[in-house]
């Protein structure tokens, strides 16, 4: 728990799992969950470097801004997903590929 490498290792696993989810999931909301995993992995890295770089709080500010960005992204993405569902009756990203009806 006092080694920077451990945290970077956990973040790398979370990031890879998130990339896997974004690439293989068909459901739009499941893709969004993969994006959340990637954002969390990046956040762990920021906080870990902040902690092991002499408790410099700049990393915490970055972490806060990433969390706010994730909230904004989730709100807009879910509005888009619900719109796609209303128009095309599916949110599988491979089926809802038409840009207009």
């Amino acid at each position: 728990m006092d080694q920077l490498n451990n945290y970077l290792f956990i973040a790398a696993i979370l990031f890879s799992l998130g990339v896997f989810g974004v690439m293989t999931r068909r459901n739009g909301i499941a893709v969004l969950m993969g994006v959340e995993l990637i954002l969390n992995a990046a956040n762990i890295n920021f906080i870990a470097f902040s902690r092991f770089g002499g408790m410099n709080l700049d990393g915490h500010i970055f972490g806060l801004i990433i969390i706010v960005l994730a909230a904004a992204e989730a709100a807009v993405a879910l509005a888009i997903v619900i719109n796609i569902y209303n128009n095309m009756n599916t949110i599988n990203v491979d089926e809802a590929s038409a840009l207009k009806e």
């Binding site: 956990i10 790398a12 799992l17 906080i47 902690r51 972490g63 994730a70």
Partner: protein, 162 residues
């Protein structure tokens, strides 16, 4: 003691993250995401980031996760079997993910990281507040504007057309 708790939280986070991307039931994925976010908040506590851990619980679990579950509920007929979904192109996706993981692992293990010894601060909240209103005032205002834009955008997008 603290060491074993750390490894427990780490394993907990990683296993539930694997559940998020591998499970075929969307609702189960959302619940697994809850445990992942809890685990990440625990890691923040180990990194002495008390404020960020609190924000993680409030915004991610209290906000984003609820939004995601709302999305699942609104876009699926709960009583039907369409709530499940399958992954496609698992081979290619898995290969790319493992390649990325090995790449990051090599970078992490080969770099001689410079670790500084510091003492644990009593609380980070006061310093974060000071930084937000002095050095990072412009990003703070920019992120407020972005939130406002996202709010209006989401409201306009999801409104019934008249």
């Amino acid at each position: 003691m603290a060491e074993s708790i750390f490894w427990f939280i780490a394993a907990f986070t990683v296993i539930s993250a694997a559940f998020v991307v591998l499970n075929n039931q969307l609702i189960y994925s959302a619940v697994a995401l809850l445990f992942t976010l809890f685990g990440v908040a625990g890691l923040y506590v180990f990194l002495w980031a008390d404020f960020i851990a609190g924000v993680q619980l409030l915004v991610y679990i209290g906000g984003i996760l609820v939004l995601i579950i709302f999305g699942i509920m609104l876009t699926n007929r709960i009583s039907s079997v369409r709530l499940s979904q399958t992954n496609v192109q698992q081979g290619v996706g898995g290969a790319v993910a493992i390649w990325l993981f090995i790449l990051i692992l090599m970078v992490v293990s080969k770099t001689p990281w410079n670790q500084m010894d510091t003492i644990e601060p009593a609380s980070t909240v006061r310093d974060i507040g000071t930084l937000l209103l002095t050095k990072y005032l412009l990003p703070f205002e920019a992120i407020s504007l972005l939130l406002l834009g996202a709010l209006i955008g989401a409201a306009v997008l999801s409104r019934e057309e008249n």
